[in-house]
């Protein structure tokens, strides 16, 4: 009940205040379209690096939005009240991470195939790319919540969040990209890296709220 109420509120806030997913997608688009301008119109080269660039750009775009998870609630005192609620703080962190995934992770993952065209991504890779991103973005939101919680008490902690969280994203990046590459060229079957990506996401969904809640307690007290 409380979990659903919090999720519903965060989704409604994201829709009302706007800018969240739109800004992330805009940044994603800009970053990706810079690459062909930088490396030149070598279609073979672009096609080869496309999965890696799309994944790295997605991580950067998601990083920009992480401070939205807790910052507003911390500043306006809502977090104080949430700490005194019957709902454990771990589930508060989970609900807010889930809302972040729905409002940012899903739109980014769904816009990636369109941007793949810019990089001459092979048609056969578009499905696997969207799938790996949909499966991998929960890990980005949930792990990101740890960094967002840790930098809560700092003013302008956005850059520090990136420095803290980016290394934790490395496994997601590696297995996300290798799953897409496996779908294009093989020889590894698509399922092998893909299932590891699923495992990374599931583990982060379970474990990250514990760390994020500890970070929130430290920030408030």
């Amino acid at each position: 009940m409380s979990f659903a109420a919090l999720l519903k509120r965060d989704l409604r806030l994201a829709v009302r205040q706007g800018g969240g997913a739109g800004m992330a997608i805009g940044f994603f688009l800009i970053t990706v379209s810079m690459i062909p301008l930088g490396v030149g119109p070598d279609l073979n080269l672009l096609s080869r690096v496309a999965p890696g660039i799309l994944w790295a750009a997605l991580l950067l775009a998601a990083l920009l939005t992480l401070d939205r998870i807790f910052q507003a609630d911390y500043e306006d005192g809502s977090l104080d009240v949430m700490m005194m609620a019957p709902l454990p703080l771990e589930l508060v962190a989970a609900a807010k991470s889930l809302a972040h995934w729905i409002t940012t992770g899903v739109p980014l993952a769904l816009s990636a195939p369109l941007l793949g065209v810019v990089l001459n991504l092979e048609a056969s890779a578009i499905g696997p790319l969207a799938l790996t991103m949909l499966v991998g973005t929960p890990a980005i939101s949930f792990i990101g919540a740890i960094g967002a919680g840790l930098t809560l008490a700092l003013r302008r902690g956005g850059l520090l969040t990136a420095v803290l969280v980016m290394p934790l994203y490395v496994p997601v990046l590696i297995f996300g990209v290798s799953a897409v590459k496996a779908a294009i060229t093989g020889p590894v079957p698509f399922a092998t890296p893909f299932l590891i990506l699923v495992a990374l996401s599931l583990a982060s969904v379970v474990l990250s709220p514990l760390a994020a809640a500890a970070a929130l307690r430290a920030a408030v007290q």
Partner: protein, 250 residues
């Protein structure tokens, strides 16, 4: 969402703030009552009958400097404590630490009676300087969220508390500071909780709203609630006890 509630049950200890400091030393009888969920309401009022908030030797520090030390609190149901002191004397620090939103450097705080399954923070309302309202949501939506998030309450009661019916559909971003404060204080009536922790509750309230708040506080204490409030001016309500925190050292 029965699934979420079931998941919340066993984990709720984890969410309790500062478990080392808050011991719910309820009598053994009330612990066995808790198993009977049907009798929740009557058992709750039984427990409140014995409810007592006791603090001994409480001390808080800020920036390595002791704000206050050896503060004792002893409040039974129906009693109020007014915490007075100049700026910087640690009023907010004390009340936040009691709410579980801060730490005591020394001392122990115990809640006797009350709901043995819930931490002190879960049985208390804290209304502080920050209003905990969302500018993008309307007044009624703000109240509806807190009602469902904090575990039930009637939005009508919340709107009644400070007469916010006329602006119920107004987004909170268009409220004045005083109206936002009223909305924040409405949480007290919205979700019944036995302990109220109010930090400068009259800030930016007009005279009529201050009188309403005084009546709310008196009614809360008459109905057996415990009230702690900090202030640097008169609140009007009938506080049984006063605590003067020392003058702020520069």
């Amino acid at each position: 969402m029965p699934g979420a509630d079931a998941a919340a049950g066993p984990l709720s200890r984890v969410g309790a703030p500062s478990p080392a400091l808050y011991k719910n030393s309820a009598p053994a009888a009330s612990r066995s009552d808790v198993a009977d969920e049907g009798a929740n309401e009557s058992e709750r009022s039984d427990d409140e009958g014995r409810m007592r908030l006791i603090g001994e030797g409480l001390a808080c520090e800020r920036g390595g400097r002791e704000l206050f030390g050896d503060v004792a609190i002893g409040l039974s149901r129906g009693e109020g404590l007014l915490i007075e002191g100049p700026n910087g004397s640690g009023k907010t620090t004390l009340i936040r630490a009691i709410a579980g939103l801060g730490r005591f450097a020394a001392g122990s705080l115990t809640l006797e009676g009350g709901d043995a399954e819930a931490s002190l923070g879960e049985q208390a309302h804290y209304v502080g300087h920050a209003d905990a309202t969302k500018p993008q949501l309307t007044v009624a939506e703000n109240l509806a969220f807190w009602a469902s998030f904090l575990g039930g309450g009637d939005i009508g009661d919340g709107l009644d508390a400070f007469g916010l019916h006329d602006i119920a559909d107004l987004p909170a971003q268009f409220l004045s500071a005083g109206q936002r404060r009223k909305l924040s204080l409405s949480r007290l009536k919205l979700v019944p909780r036995p302990i109220w922790l109010l930090d400068e509750p009259t800030a930016s309230l007009d005279r009529v709203a201050r009188q309403r708040l005084t009546r709310l506080m008196d009614a809360h204490m008459e109905s057996g609630g415990i009230l702690l409030a900090t202030t640097h001016m008169e609140l009007g309500a009938a506080f049984a006890q006063r605590l003067a925190l020392g003058s702020a050292a520069p």
